[in-house]
């Protein structure tokens, strides 16, 4: 069992290394060999001595009460150790029905017999084997007092939420919308709908909980390792430092592993109650309930356009689904805040309380759903204005942030439009739909969308230790969700130390390390990377002090002109002929090592003065069978400007992943609730469709140069989420361009097209 990921020295072929500049290299994942050989240990791979297995029974109704559980039958099953129900569940230190700490979600931990959604845990069975626990959970045979399920956005009246997303205001208004609409020569009023979607990480949520007295060790995938120690500790009334979280590898997170969820607490509670380690791993269908999802939305637009094709008003009203007991309102209207210049801007949100699990952040929360609708509506506006969709977007290009009026820290969106359009061949696009066919007679359409995602930073710490042999150790409790974050962070850390990456050992994924912050919001590389780089430069500063004050060093007295660190040596800045190795400096000083520390976080003054976003432009080609309506994306080109790119291979890969998710959003993903029971009827990977390889076309990602001096000292933004934005709209717009049919409900399917596609 590995406590942390420890990437050894010598993992990179020499030909890949360019000394002094690790950042910018297209290195492969440094944990790749561990993963393909099976040596990487994921949470559920841990089997401590005495391990018990927990399986929870899930409610099959969406609303009502559990009236009976056959606990005797479950207990009598061979191998069963304990059955937890609301009647015998030991107490927790917190009330699950009140908000105990920031960013907490109300959770379901057997506090009573109420059922609030289908899939809610209603009992937990702990047994010597997984099979025994599974069968005993089935033997519980619950009966219910069920009330009619409320699912679908029309099931109840909307209310006005106090906040959307994570604490954002529900309404933003600038200028006079009604006046803007009155002044318009063209209007677009359109309603779009997006369904509930589920994270479906390859690795289901899993936890192995082990108690030693009042100390708790957790093997569980987690996107915010150090912060979560405090959250877990609070539920059990112990200090945060008593909790150790080991999360060396995540098989995907997408926002669903950033939040403490009920099943985790139940597993820990069972381990405490029974005095033995307990493992709980969700079954695939259990991932459609207590662990969050992208909430369904309905988005109403009112757009005004003047005679020159410029916006006079943009009004974006989202009605989002949340649970009956907790608020997570998909902040979809906020996607309209920062993209197109308009004298009048209004973004508003309403919400409906449904008998569903609470939604939560899912890759590009708000931005993905909002962009899908906004970019489609903008396409409709371009059509109303009689303009090419790219020309329309350029006419409405925002030179300053539309919502705040602030200047952008950097915005290379024009370059993204230009480079993407050039690569795609956009200039050949006919304005009218249904103009293009391929050699087999299929309808061909081209569409585009603008991509946008905020460039936030959180707070992170890191340490660096330079050793006598000239190698170094760097540490931060970051999280790699599979995208290669640690490789990029390792590159940055090596640059901070002026070492090649193979001379630097990298430790991460353990709560005992310095807090690496949250792997979310596309801010992890910027935040943890800044901390790591600062830790390295702190070491170098101390080393330079030693050398420049030492008469026996060739660098003595260089303090005025300074020294530069490169390839394990310090050089006089004014005379590269005079240098000394790190090891020699340490040896002469009689030191075995030097430690440094660094922090990452945004400069508050910059944050106040400037709007900070990554931008992009996505161009899509789709083909539609004119008779059968079946759709296939045949080309995708995305051009993205996201500040300094640390690792172009991994950044490109992440952008591919986001764009592929965009295909799924546009064409495939939808949780189907039975209208009567409220149960999700396709809670499995066979029927909840995500794109397969045959759905993914030739893809082209262009990394557009962008120098952003304000986001952070390294100029790093993020690429984790922006790939979905823009792509969904681009595909929807291409379908319209191919068929002449505007589908305003996602996912777009052949039933939407078989009438329209052949009507002409």
């Amino acid at each position: 069992m590995s406590d942390t990921i420890a990437i050894p020295a010598g993992a990179t072929p020499a030909s890949r290394t360019r000394f002094g500049s690790n950042s910018g290299q297209p290195m492969t994942r440094r944990d790749g060999v561990l993963k393909v050989t099976g040596a990487a240990t994921f949470a559920a791979d841990n089997h401590p001595e005495g391990l018990l297995h927990a399986v929870y029974a899930a409610a099959t109704i969406s609303r009502g009460r559990v009236t009976s559980l056959n606990v005797d039958a479950a207990r009598a099953h061979p191998g069963v150790v304990e059955v937890l129900t609301p009647e015998n569940r030991p107490p927790l230190a917190l009330d699950p029905d009140t908000k105990p700490y920031p960013f907490a979600f109300l959770i379901e931990v057997l506090q009573d017999d109420t059922v609030r959604y289908a899939g809610q845990p209603i009992a937990l069975v702990v047994a010597e084997t997984l099979e025994a626990a599974t069968e005993a959970a089935r033997l519980l045979s619950p009966t219910y007092d069920a009330a009619p399920a409320r699912v679908g956005l029309d099931a109840v009246e909307p209310y006005d939420p106090e906040a959307v997303g994570v604490g954002s205001p529900p309404t933003t208004e600038k200028g006079d919308i009604e006046a803007g609409l009155s002044a318009a020569s063209q209007r677009v009023d359109a309603r779009y709908e997006t369904p509930g979607q589920y994270h479906n990480a390859m690795e289901p949520h899993a936890i192995v909980a082990s108690w030693d007295g009042d100390r708790l060790t957790l093997d569980t995938p987690n996107q915010a390792i150090v912060m979560s120690t405090g959250s877990f500790a609070a539920w059990f009334g112990i200090p945060a430092e008593n909790v150790t979280i080991r999360s060396p590898f995540l098989g995907g997170g997408f926002g669903s592993k950033a939040i403490i969820v009920g099943p985790q607490i139940l597993a820990i509670l069972a381990a405490k109650m029974l005095g033995r380690p307990v493992k709980l791993a969700l079954r695939r269908e259990q991932m459609y309930g207590p662990v969050g999802h992208r909430g369904a939305t309905r988005q109403d637009f009112r757009i005004g356009i003047d005679g020159d094709g410029r916006l006079t008003a943009l009004d974006h009203l989202t009605t989002a689904a949340t649970s009956t007991f907790e608020d997570f309102i998909e902040p979809a209207s906020n996607a309209s805040h920062d993209l197109y210049a308009t004298p009048a801007l209004s973004s508003r949100h309403k919400a409906v309380r449904l008998d569903i699990g609470t939604p939560g952040p899912m890759r590009a929360p708000g931005e993905a759903s909002g962009s899908a609708a906004l970019e489609s509506a903008i396409d409709e506006a371009a059509l109303a204005a009689g303009l090419d969709p790219l020309e329309f977007r350029l006419r409405n290009y925002a030179e300053t942030d539309p919502a705040s009026g602030k200047p952008f820290s950097a915005k290379a969106l024009r370059e993204c439009y230009a480079e993407g359009a050039e690569r795609f061949g956009w200039s050949k696009r006919p304005l009218e739909p249904r103009q293009m066919r391929d050699e087999a007679g299929r309808l061909v359409g081209w569409g585009m969308g603008t991509a946008l995602f905020p460039a936030p930073m959180f707070q992170a710490k890191a340490t660096a230790t330079l050793r006598a042999d000239g190698t170094a150790l760097v540490e931060t409790a970051g999280a790699d969700m599979g995208q290669g974050a640690w490789t990029a962070l390792h590159q940055i850390a090596a640059d901070g130390l002026g070492l090649d990456i193979d001379s630097v050992e990298f430790h991460s994924g353990h709560s005992g390390l310095p807090d690496g912050g949250i792997a979310g919001g596309s801010g992890h590389t910027a935040t943890a990377g800044s901390a790591l780089h600062a830790a390295g430069t702190d070491v170098i500063a101390k080393l330079a002090d030693l050398a420049t004050n030492d008469e026996n060093s060739p660098l003595f007295g260089a303090g005025n002109v300074g020294v530069e660190a490169q390839d394990g040596r310090l050089y006089r800045a004014d005379d590269p002929g005079r240098s000394e190795s790190y090891g020699d400096i340490l040896a002469r000083a009689g030191l075995s090592e030097i430690e440094g520390a660094g922090q990452g976080g945004r400069d508050p003054a910059s944050a106040e003065e400037r709007a900070m976003f990554s931008h992009g432009a996505v161009f899509a080609e789709v083909k539609v069978d004119p008779d059968l309506g079946q759709i296939r994306v045949s080309r995708l080109v995305g051009a993205f400007a996201a500040g300094r790119i640390i690792n172009p291979r991994l950044a490109t890969s992440q952008l591919y992943g986001g764009m592929i998710w965009g295909i799924g959003f546009a064409l495939h993903e939808e949780a189907v609730h039975d209208r009567r029971s409220g149960r999700i009827m396709n809670a499995n990977l066979a029927e909840y469709h995500v794109p397969v390889n045959a759905d993914v076309p030739t893809m082209d990602v262009i990394l557009v140069d962008e120098h952003d001096p304000y986001v952070n000292a390294l100029g790093i933004k993020g690429v984790g989420e922006i790939g979905i934005t823009g792509t969904v709209g681009a595909i929807a717009n291409a379908i319209w361009h191919a068929t002449g049919v505007r589908v305003r409900r996602f996912p777009i399917g052949l039933a939407d097209l078989i009438d329209g596609a052949s009507a002409h």
């Binding site: 099979e131 069968e135 495939h668 039975d674 149960r679 396709n682 794109p691 045959a694 759905d695 078989i754």
Partner: protein, 352 residues
């Protein structure tokens, strides 16, 4: 845990003896049965593992010109058998359009015939389903039924038969060889499956203890090799069940259709041969008009079982297209996306 006996017979006789006992289920590769057991849908008390039986994994050319496929032949092995694919290209195409490469490598021919519907109400033990629990009702009716049947359904069941392979076999008049307690018998594919009626739990003519040992394509089936295709329409390009599919086979002489075979998938409660449509085609000139007439005939009896009226229009177009593709001629090579409307090439001239 969920206890069951596991028995690995050494001979057909042993298998049938074990399979005849109440609570037994025959196990092939288990790509469907084991999932259903894990999901609490089925709970056999004994699994009789057929995968180690001798002599059931051969593809044989018989003296009378027919082809016999052993029940344990893997889907992938059959589809990639060059002689088989040349003689029955639509069967190979149907096989390769089903499931995923991994599943095709594991799944067996006999089990493919025995796979259960993917109706979500069947696989969800909390739902009422007359197939799973006779007399409990059908929650698919009035539920989420966009993918359900428009042909052959009853007030007791509207579930679609999921197979692609069986659709092509049905079109070509395949026979099912059955071994059982009373010996061997054979049944035409068209008679093998039962309509749901008021006993949807009874899906085939198999009696207790009976098992499939082989599927046989009759000598006359090979005569369609030059003009046969399988077409499958779905929401994603691969790894999805058909919303509508069709296997079409034509015999064309002197510019006229002299014989036609047509079966539908994804739209009916069993693999659906439509002899009414075949009759329309005989004597007709191959072309869109004749094919649209056949499509009309194929769906003459169709009616929506819920929010799936679009499948009737879609099914007609699938039939028309499949016939167009068959008339154009079997491609020289299997398309890169078998059975897909996005297959790169169609017609005899492709790849030449």
């Amino acid at each position: 845990m969920n206890l069951f006996d596991y028995f690995r017979p050494a001979s057909l006789a042993e298998a049938v003896a074990a399979g005849s006992q109440p609570g037994s289920a025959y196990l092939g590769a288990g790509t469907n049965l084991l999932d259903l057991m894990k999901g609490g849908v089925l709970a056999p008390s004994r699994l009789v593992d057929l995968t180690h039986l001798p002599d059931l994994n051969r593809i044989e050319q018989l003296a009378d010109g027919s082809t016999r496929i052993g029940a344990l032949v893997k889907n992938a092995a059959l589809a990639h058998d060059p002689d088989f694919a040349r003689a029955y290209p639509a069967v190979a195409e149907a096989l390769l359009s089903g499931a995923s490469a991994q599943l095709r490598n594991a799944a067996t021919v006999g089990s493919n015939l025995m796979q259960r519907t993917r109706c979500a109400y069947f696989t969800d033990p909390a739902s009422a389903c007359n197939k799973r629990q006779p007399g409990s009702g059908c929650d698919a009716i009035g539920g989420e039924n966009r993918a359900h049947a428009v042909l052959g359904w009853s007030d007791h069941c509207i579930a679609v038969h999921p197979s692609d392979f069986c659709v092509a076999l049905t079109a070509l008049g395949a026979l099912v060889e059955i071994e059982g307690p009373t010996g061997r018998r054979e049944v035409a594919m068209t008679d093998f499956y039962l309509l749901p009626g008021d006993t949807p739990e009874k899906e085939t003519v198999l009696e207790a203890g009976e098992m499939i040992v082989a599927v046989r394509l009759p000598p006359e089936a090979a005569a369609f090799a030059g003009h046969q295709r399988y077409l499958k329409v779905r929401e994603r390009t691969s790894y999805a069940f058909a919303l509508a599919s069709a296997a079409a086979a034509l015999k064309i002489e002197n510019g006229l259709i002299v014989e036609a075979r047509l079966a539908l998938g994804g739209v009916a409660t069993k693999p659906w041969r439509t002899q009414a449509a075949e009759a329309v085609l005989v004597g007709a000139t191959p072309g869109k008009e004749a094919f649209e007439n056949a499509a009309e005939a194929a769906f003459a009896e169709a009616k929506p079982s819920g929010e799936n009226a679009y499948k009737i229009a879609l099914g007609r177009r699938v039939v028309t297209r499949a016939l167009m593709m068959a008339a154009a001629g079997t491609p020289k090579r299997m398309p890169a996306l078998p059975a897909s409307p996005f297959a790169s090439e169609t017609g005899a001239n492709a790849h030449v």
